[in-house]
């Protein structure tokens, strides 16, 4: 079943067209997105790279329905987000999209298990026990389920967040520098897991990073500068990405 998803590589999981996002007005105007069009195919792991302030987070947020565009359109699957009201956007985030932030991913009063199940608990849905076990196994958190976030290491916390992002079987998972706060060992464990989610479950992942090593886990790397997509690369390696970044002046 997981493999079935992986074979549909030509289906678009998310796409953004002629996206424009402007902050401020007049002198202080910043075009965070300046005519971006990208498509994210199902079952692919994409890394978004670029210098600080190039619009990576903005792109991710607008894709995920956390922020709206000033021009252009965003689709998750076939759904155009601009036409959705707050309630439908909330539902979409809950059911069709997963998230991993750089930090503060977890609710401190809930256990690891409850944090993982959060989207389902919010929806009032029963978890699929088999799937839950599989995800928890994969992230290696089986014996940590009843711990509170404060009792977990940074790497464990991020893996809980990753498990949460997967548990509702979303169409696409967005991650904004998920390994940015981790040491290299914890970081690579997390990235390893994300890679497996793509390979074994056919999960679609879009990850913002400025770390070339992190980008090397992806199938494809996109390069942003000044709110525009300036380049992309298939099967990126740390070295090739670093090379490309240099020319962007990051």
């Amino acid at each position: 079943m997981a493999l079935a998803l992986a074979t549909e590589r030509n289906v678009s999981a998310a796409r953004i067209e002629d996206a424009v996002k402007i902050y401020g007005t007049g002198d202080t105007e910043v075009r965070a997105l300046d005519g971006v069009s990208v498509e994210f195919k199902t079952g692919l792991f994409t890394a978004i790279m670029g210098p600080s302030g190039s619009g990576k987070s903005t792109l991710l947020h607008t894709l995920a329905g956390l922020d709206n565009l000033d021009g252009g359109s965003v689709y998750i699957g076939d759904t155009e987000l601009g036409s959705l009201n707050d309630r439908h956007l909330t539902e979409l985030r809950r059911e069709r999209v997963g998230f991993i932030f750089q930090a503060f991913n977890l609710i401190p009063t809930l256990t690891a298990e409850e944090n993982i199940l959060l989207p389902l608990l919010i929806a009032g849905d029963r978890p699929d026990q088999e799937w839950f076990d599989l995800v928890v196994d994969t992230v290696g958190l089986k014996d940590r389920l009843h711990h509170r976030p404060t009792e977990l290491s940074g790497g464990q916390q991020q893996r809980v967040a990753a498990a949460r992002a997967l548990v509702s079987r979303p169409e696409i998972v967005f991650a904004d520098e998920p390994s940015g706060n981790l040491d290299s060992k914890a970081g690579s464990e997390l990235l390893e897991f994300m890679r497996r989610a793509v390979d074994e479950f056919g999960q679609t992942i879009v990850m913002v990073t400025h770390d070339p090593v992190a980008a090397s886990y992806a199938d494809r790397a996109l390069f942003l500068a000044d709110g525009k997509v300036v380049d992309h690369m298939w099967s990126p390696t740390a070295a090739s990405v670093l090379e490309r970044m240099k020319t962007l002046g990051a």
């Binding site: 995920a64 956390l66 909330t90 539902e91 809950r94 503060f104 991913n105 401190p108 959060l118 608990l121």
Partner: protein
């Protein structure tokens, strides 16, 4: 540093406003009370001075120093007075109770302000009453009356109309010939006024050939003191002369004595408001300090000393306190104005004019506000000063103090409070109230110190039934900071504890009333006047004695005397009839009381007296009579001293009985007896004939009314506590911005966010309410138990009412959550995630 603090205040408007509200409320109550009572005092003082300005001296029966009941004197005295050198004119007068009956047959007033009856005085300088142009004329003949403008307006009783007026002699019909004002006012603070021609008034008040007062106008050049001294020399013993200004002052004081209650009650509520406010202020400052840990640590890291950090927090408190206290004084003035309008609307008319805002009001208001704020911010400030510089780098707050210390300290305080409380309840002297108040206050503080210990388990318990993730999160949020939750709940605890206590106390009184009536009063009917100032007069009693359906008819009198120099009440019963209607549980038969006095056994014991001993009793007539203690009695319903009606009437001539009890003659049922008695009393519309069940229902209604009033006023404490909850929640919501953003990002709807905050609020409120009910029950039980000897035999737990209070608390929680929940649900997700 100080500039940093001031900046801190204005940078956090929300914090400022919320903290300020609690102080504003308390100060407003204090200031409002002062403004209102000052205004009332100054207005009436001016009015009294005005209306009695012409009186240089007053001649009146000398009254005992301990009592203010007045007697009367013979008409001949007027001639003696008129002939004293320096007297220009005199005004003779009598007064009494005159109950005006509305056209529909109901008595007008009599439960609050007095129902004044008076003779008309024709010397304008010597009378408070005047008939203005266009208001008819003064009464000059029998059958004529002038009533006050307000009563006339309110009851459609205009000039030319007939009106029934009831006096001790019974109700008679009078023609209204004029409308009187009290000085410039339409009436005197809601009193009804009936003015009759002098000899008519003497007849009505049973004072034929007598006067109760003579006012004197001096000839030019004779000052009031000289005149008074000369008058005194001409007067027989038992009658005294005082200057007009002294008489005015005494009348004014007597008049405002009733206001003392209002003053005390309002200040008591101010105290509750301030006390509850202190909890909220302390809690707010603590949260604020916790939220600013990093900022304060950074200041320490860059070289600020502990002292400077502490000074900074205190300066911030000072700024907030000053601002809020000033605002509180202003709000208090508005509050006084509102109360005044309310009193006007309720018929307690007040002379027009500006509010009296004394410097004292502003100073005390500011002092109260500032003291409470500074005092409440001391602990948080100390805590702030202890933040280590490294906390700037750490994310977790400093370790909490051990729960053991808290448990020990809290238990100690509670035990001390309990000791004070029990001691207070067991004591019989003037310190009792202080001890009880101190015990209660300390108890509240002690419980609030202990409260964090139960916050987590109780929050978990209360939150358990709440469904879904919103319920789970609400439970977690309430339990995560037990101290904060407990402090917030404690504020509500106080209000709820007080109302719970009042409910329990009321229910226990009610339960005891029935028992008492059954046990001590075997009478079938009780007969009383609805007019607070009147009773069952001898004329009414004569009517009752002729009712065939009644067997025994027994009068009860109450009078104020002084026993061994202390003010006391005596009850007088008729030995011939009392046994059929009342069982005082006396040590000797009533027939044997004679000229002696029975003393209640507990009083006898406390005073260390013995049967057979002589007591010095001073009567209003200023007569002092050594009276033998002939025995004791147990019943707690009336006074501590019991004498016979014949002893009583020697010293209180012509008085009305306060109540009359009757039993039925053989062969008649209660309804027949009641109807017959009512029929006999048609000339006395203000006198009610009650069956035992009427009596119980009436006292229950009275208790309910009192409870309602208390509950409404204590509701204020609950309102302040609601503000406290809203305050904490708002700050918590800000603190959890990122968490809420995360929840929203992973798909939580706005409704769910609102529900989460609302449930957190309800859990906190219910926690406070449960603590409050527990404290209230303990307090109520202790009080009832300690009053068992005073006739409060039954402890009753008003279950329904207590549940209602819990529901009110839950509702309070819902209301408190409105603002914070809205704020939480409106949070912009991205900003929330980025929130630092």
């Amino acid at each position: 540093m100080i500039r940093t603090a001031i900046k801190g205040v204005f940078a956090h408007k929300l914090r400022l406003t919320l903290t300020a509200v609690a102080i504003v409320m308390g100060v407003a109550f204090v200031a409002g009370t002062f403004v209102l009572t000052d205004t009332i005092n100054s207005r009436f003082s001016t009015l009294f001075d005005d209306v009695y300005a012409g009186v240089d001296a007053t001649v009146r029966p000398e009254s005992s120093s301990m009592t203010n009941q007045s007697g009367s004197f013979e008409v001949e005295l007027a001639r003696t007075i008129a002939s004293v050198e320096g007297v220009d004119r005199i005004a003779t007068g009598v007064g009494g109770v005159a109950q005006i009956i509305a056209p529909n047959g109901d008595p007008i007033g009599g439960q609050g302000p007095p129902t004044i009856g008076s003779s008309w005085v024709d010397v304008p300088a010597l009378t408070a009453f005047r008939v203005d142009e266009g208001n008819g004329r003064a009464p000059v003949a029998a059958g004529e009356v002038a009533i006050d403008v307000s009563t006339s307006n309110a009851n459609d009783l205009s000039i030319g109309a007939e009106v029934k007026i009831e006096t001790a002699a019974g109700a008679e019909t009078f023609e209204i010939v004029g409308l009187v004002s009290f000085g410039s006012e339409d009436n005197l603070a809601g009193a009804t006024i009936s003015v009759f021609e002098l000899s008519e008034a003497q007849r009505l008040f049973g004072l034929e050939g007598r006067y109760s007062q003579i006012d004197v106008l001096a000839v030019d050049g004779v000052d009031p003191e000289t005149l008074t001294a000369r008058l005194q020399q001409a007067l027989p013993s038992g009658i005294e002369a005082v200057t007009g200004s002294q008489q005015t002052q005494e009348q004014f004081e007597q008049f405002t004595e009733g206001l003392g209650f209002l003053n005390t009650a309002l200040l008591a509520f101010a105290a509750v408001a301030v006390f509850v406010g202190a909890f909220i202020i302390q809690n707010t400052f603590r949260i604020v300090v916790a939220q600013r840990t990093k900022e304060l640590a950074l200041l320490r890291a860059v070289g600020a000393s502990r002292r400077q950090v502490m000074a900074m927090v205190l300066t911030e408190a000072l700024a907030v306190g000053t601002f809020a206290s000033a605002l509180g004084v202003l709000v208090g003035i508005g509050f006084a104005k509102l109360l005044k309008v309310g009193m006007d609307a309720m018929g307690f008319g007040m002379p027009d004019g500006p509010l009296t805002i004394a410097l004292r009001t502003v100073v005390v208001g500011m002092m109260v506000g500032l003291t409470v704020t500074m005092f409440s911010s001391l602990l948080p400030a100390r805590k702030a000063s202890r933040i280590a510089p490294v906390a700037a780098m750490r994310d977790t707050p400093a370790a909490r103090r051990s729960l053991k210390t808290r448990a020990l300290a809290g238990t100690g305080i509670v035990l001390a409070a309990a000791a004070a409380l029990l001691l207070g309840l067991a004591t019989d002297n003037g310190n009792a109230l202080m001890l009880v108040a101190f015990g209660s206050l300390t108890g509240f503080i002690g419980i609030s110190v202990l409260a964090p210990l139960f916050a987590r388990p109780i929050a978990n318990l209360l939150g358990k039934p709440l469904p879904g993730i919103a319920g789970r999160l609400a439970r977690g949020n309430t339990a995560r900071q037990p101290r904060r939750t407990a402090a917030t709940a404690s504020a509500l605890m106080i209000g709820i504890a007080l109302v719970a206590f009042v409910s329990i106390f009321g229910a226990s009184i009610k339960a005891s009333v029935g028992d008492t009536l059954d046990g001590a009063f075997p009478a079938d009917l009780s007969i009383r006047s609805s007019n607070f100032y009147a009773g069952v007069s001898p004329a009414a009693m004569d009517q009752l004695l002729n009712v065939d359906e009644l067997d025994t008819v027994s009068e009860f009198f109450f009078g104020e005397v002084s026993v061994e120099g202390n003010r006391a009440m005596v009850v007088a019963v008729d030995p011939a009839t009392v046994d059929a209607v009342y069982r005082p549980d006396a040590s000797i038969p009533m027939d044997d009381v004679g000229e002696g006095v029975l003393v209640r056994s507990d009083k006898l014991e406390v005073s260390g007296w013995a049967v057979g001993q002589l007591l010095t009793i001073e009567y209003p007539s200023a007569q002092t009579i050594p009276t033998e203690i002939v025995g004791t009695f147990e019943n707690q319903n009336f006074a501590e001293y019991l004498i016979t009606t014949s002893t009583y009437s020697e010293h209180f001539p012509g008085q009305s009985a306060v109540m009359v009890f009757a039993t039925l003659a053989d062969g008649f049922d209660v309804a027949e007896g009641q109807a017959a008695a009512e029929n006999a009393l048609t000339d006395f519309p203000s006198i009610d004939v009650n069956t035992q069940s009427d009596e119980i229902a009436e006292s229950e209604a009275q208790i309910d009314q009192l409870l309602g009033l208390f509950s409404a006023l204590l509701g204020l404490a609950v309102i302040i506590a609601v503000i406290g909850i809203a305050n904490t929640l708002a700050l918590s919501v800000v603190e959890r911005t990122r968490e809420i953003g995360l929840l929203r990002a992973v798909g939580m709807g706005r409704r769910q966010v609102r529900r989460m905050v609302r449930w957190e609020s309800i859990i906190t409120a219910l926690f406070g309410a449960l603590l409050g009910v527990a404290v209230g029950v303990v307090l109520g039980w202790a009080t009832v138990a300690s009053l068992a000897e005073d006739g409060l035999g039954t402890f009753a737990l008003p279950g329904v009412q207590l549940v209602v209070w819990l529901l009110v608390a839950a509702l309070a929680g819902v209301i408190a959550a409105i603002g914070p929940a809205r704020k939480a649900s409106r949070m912009r997700i991205l900003e929330a995630i980025a929130y630092e």
